[in-house]
Amino acid sequence: MSTASVPLPNWITYGLMPLLNLLVAFFISGLVVWWIGENPLEALRLLIEGSLGRGDAIGFTLFYTTSFIFTGLSVAVAFHAGLFNIGSEGQAYLGGLGAALVALALDQYVPWYVTMPFAVMGAALFGAGWALIPAWLQAKRGSHIVITTIMFNFIGAALMVYLLVNVLIVPGKMAPETRTFLPGGQLPKLDWLMAWFGLKLGPAPFNVSFLIALVMAFLVWVLIWRTKLGYEMRTLGISPSAAVYAGIPYARTVIIAMLISGGLAGMMALNPVMGASARLQVEFVGGAGFVGIAVSLMGRSHPLGIVLAALLFGILYQGGADLSFEMPNITREMIVVIQGLVILFAGALEYMFRPTMVHIYQRFKRA
């Protein structure tokens, strides 16, 4: 008997099951840690402390979280329209170009809060632009969006290296990066926010783009559940045949959904480029686009879930880095393994426990 259609209460679907998945992921990670001769509980303590134990640790955690919120939202928006956008990575990379060009153009003349809205627009525009061709190919030519967006990740990476090495590089320097932005092209740190909680940010690059990410999470919620466009996207995503019946234009909806998705991915660049390094560097995205897929899956494509899942992955990134520093046996690669396990259980196997939960729940309800 199939259990897929049996309804479960929301607290099980959105609370208990993700928690269970997470626990299993941690348990198996613990086994791996134990197998290489370290104490799993000690490792867990170090991971938590390294990500949440101090002000600067929290600052780094939230810095990563910010990037993952943007890319998670990007994947989620496309997903609601039934599209699997694997290209957030490349769209974020190009978004960095948009943000950097704005910062380079304006930083000498205006303060940061004037630059910021233009930088947001620039990043979104370039990210959306990078999503446009795959979107068009999907909408009009039926080329599968997964394939084209993956390809565009590679094209984007090559393009950016070319631009940084040959065009944007500071003459006479060896590093393939732009000049450092002046304060007018930087997003300030959120020291004051940390101070509210009596914490010191220290060197952590936790910055204003975190607030932009939260605003975007809210706007995505409005888009998906409170606008006609979101209604059409959801209809298309759930039932393409009902969308045809309802007269929802396929091509237009696909293209718009992908532009929004690409735009959100592009905005991710604000965080590392203008909030942390204050210059555009090679490979600054660092896989955040792909983490966004896991974040969106784990957050069930809901903005609130995405913020929480992004926080979890932020903890894993920051805590993991600290852990590999403290326990030399646990290398950087081990952390990637643990992250992989979390993605595997929380993302790819998200419904693994569902049949069991359904059986338990039904027995419980009958009793």
Binding site: M1, S5, P7, W225, R226, T227, K228, L229, G230, Y231, E232, R234, T235, I238, S239, S241, A242, V244, Y245, A246, G247, I248, P249
Partner: protein, 514 residues
């Protein structure tokens, strides 16, 4: 090896090839198979006939292991078997040829036949064995086909032959064919029948699922009739007639008479001229059809399901592009216009398939109550959705149409079939359209809701709307329609008044008389 099996099969032929005892299967509220009993004798061609939705395909899927029966037994050659999946069905000697072929289009014939039965990790040995076996099957059954031809380059009839070979290659003794002639030209169908007769004469058992009476008469030894999930009769083909089968298939049900006055037809609101519609494979489904529907009348399109009514309806609703011909609403040509524009012109459409078209089952009730009309400014301005307005209107419709449970926030999948249909009916009727086209208004709907929906349809007529009604329920067509058009094989084969006899209509639907 297979010769030995056949010999054995002949010796113990007192056991039926397949026996079904009390098979029962429900999908949620839909009772697809009700206590089905069936015996198929060895070495015969056994037809199973019934309208689409009668439960034939569900029953065959149970035999082939796609679904599990809720209750009942399957006995193959006298032995009770649990068929968990198609693998189990294959090892029990059952082969299935699906209506839509399960072939890898860019593989060769040989590769397709071997698929899933490669015989080991390395291909070479399997390939040479398969080639030899294919040669043998070819000479034994006269099923010639080039083993190295690529599937997508073969005509449909040949592709079907590959499906049959696939089953035989897996040593099937029982061959199930699901609507095998639907995609074939008449010549190809004749050839298929020849092949099936050879298979039978070689001791194979063939089950033929179809809704075409002529095929049953032409080649089967026995025939079983299904109607609304039940097995209503089994006859020796030689001892029955087309008339009897037609009657068994359509059924005599107590008439649900709808009280209605005389129709007062006015000007023509919907007009279809020389319309031809093809399906995705290029098969002509609607063939040069012309008719008119006037304001204040209900025109019923009768026909056994699969004779082009669905495609005709979809073409009028803008979902399927017609190949040629004209459609006019109130004088305006609309062929090829999209559904959104048609709604604006005053065409409302209650689709045949509410689960895939009329509703998004994961949406809340109030969200579905605006599907297709969601762009209307009454549901919010500036691109925003006004949830309060949507819900308020949904509450009104829920009260007016007695939709239960009366909760606009409930997920649509959690409503019963009848209430789901009322959601669609309420949405389409309450927009006050000029032309209403309706497919299967009461499929899977309980009696109470049927009466209610029928009443609403008649009200629409009395309000001066043009109503086009498609239904496979002949009773429904007869009790609602002012005029009845009968479709067969994509053509309108005749027009009758509402008081035409069931027998007459039944024969026309079977393509026997006009």
């Amino acid at each position: 090896m297979s010769g030995f099996r056949q010999g054995k099969a002949r010796r113990v032929s007192q056991n039926p090839a397949i026996e079904l005892v009390g098979i029962d299967k429900s999908f949620g509220a839909v009772h697809a198979n009700k206590n089905i009993n069936l015996k198929v004798e060895k070495g015969t061609i056994h037809g199973i006939i019934g309208e689409n939705g009668a439960g034939k395909s569900t029953l065959m899927s149970i035999i082939y292991g796609f679904y599990q029966a809720d209750r009942g037994e399957i006995r193959i050659d006298g032995k009770q078997l649990t068929i968990r999946d198609s693998q189990a069905a294959i090892s029990a000697g059952i082969g299935m040829v699906h209506q839509h072929f399960m072939l890898v289009e860019n593989f060769t014939v040989l590769e397709n036949i071997m698929l899933g039965a490669e015989g080991g990790q390395l291909l070479a040995k399997g390939v040479s064995e398969a080639r030899a076996e294919l040669k043998r099957l070819e000479t034994e059954y006269g099923l010639d086909v080039d083993p190295d031809a690529v599937i997508e380059e073969l005509p449909v009839g040949r592709q079907q032959r590959v499906e049959i070979l696939k089953a035989l290659y897996r040593k099937a003794d029982i061959l199930i064919l699901d609507e095998p002639t639907g995609v074939l030209t008449p010549a190809e169908a004749d050839h298929l029948f020849k092949v099936l007769k050879v298979l039978r004469d070689q001791g194979k058992t063939v089950i033929l699922i179809t809704h075409k009476l002529r095929e049953i008469m032409a080649i089967t030894d026995e025939v079983s009739v299904m109607r609304r999930g039940e097995m209503v009769a089994t006859r020796k083909t030689a001892e029955t007639s087309v008339e009897e089968l037609a009657e068994l298939m359509v059924g005599r049900r107590v008439l649900l008479r709808v009280e209605k006055g005389e129709a007062k037809p006015g000007k023509v609101l919907l007009s279809v001229k020389n319309l031809t519609v093809k399906d995705g494979r290029g098969v002509t489904m609607v063939d040069n059809v012309s008719f008119e529907v006037r304001e204040g009348e209900i025109v019923g399109l009768a026909g056994v399901a699969g004779n082009g009514q669905s495609e005709l309806l979809e073409a009028i609703a803008g979902i399927r592009k017609p190949a040629s011909g004209e459609i006019l609403i109130d004088g305006q040509p609309i062929a090829g216009a999209d559904p959104a524009r048609l709604r604006a012109l005053g065409l409302a459409h209650i689709p045949e398939d509410r689960h895939h078209m009329g509703l998004v089952l994961k949406f809340s009730e109030y969200e579905n109550a605006v599907l297709g009309y969601h762009r209307d400014s009454r549901y919010g301005r500036a691109g925003l959705l006004d949830l309060k307005a949507m819900q308020a209107e949904a509450v009104e419709k829920i009260a007016k149409y007695d939709i239960r449970p009366p909760n606009p926030l409930l997920k649509t999948a959690n409503f019963s079939g009848g209430n789901q249909q009322k959601i669609v009916v309420a949405r389409e009727i309450e927009r006050d359209p000029k032309v209403l086209i309706i497919g299967q208004p009461t499929r899977g709907v309980d009696i109470g809701a049927i009466e209610f929906i029928h009443r609403r349809i008649v009200d629409m007529r009395d309000a001066g709307k043009a109503v086009l009604l498609v239904s496979v329920e002949l009773d429904e067509i007869r009790s609602l329609s002012d005029r009845i058009l009968v479709m067969f094989a994509g053509r309108v084969v005749g027009e009758k008044t509402a008081d035409a006899g069931e027998q007459t209509l039944g024969l026309m639907m079977a393509g026997i008389a006009a």
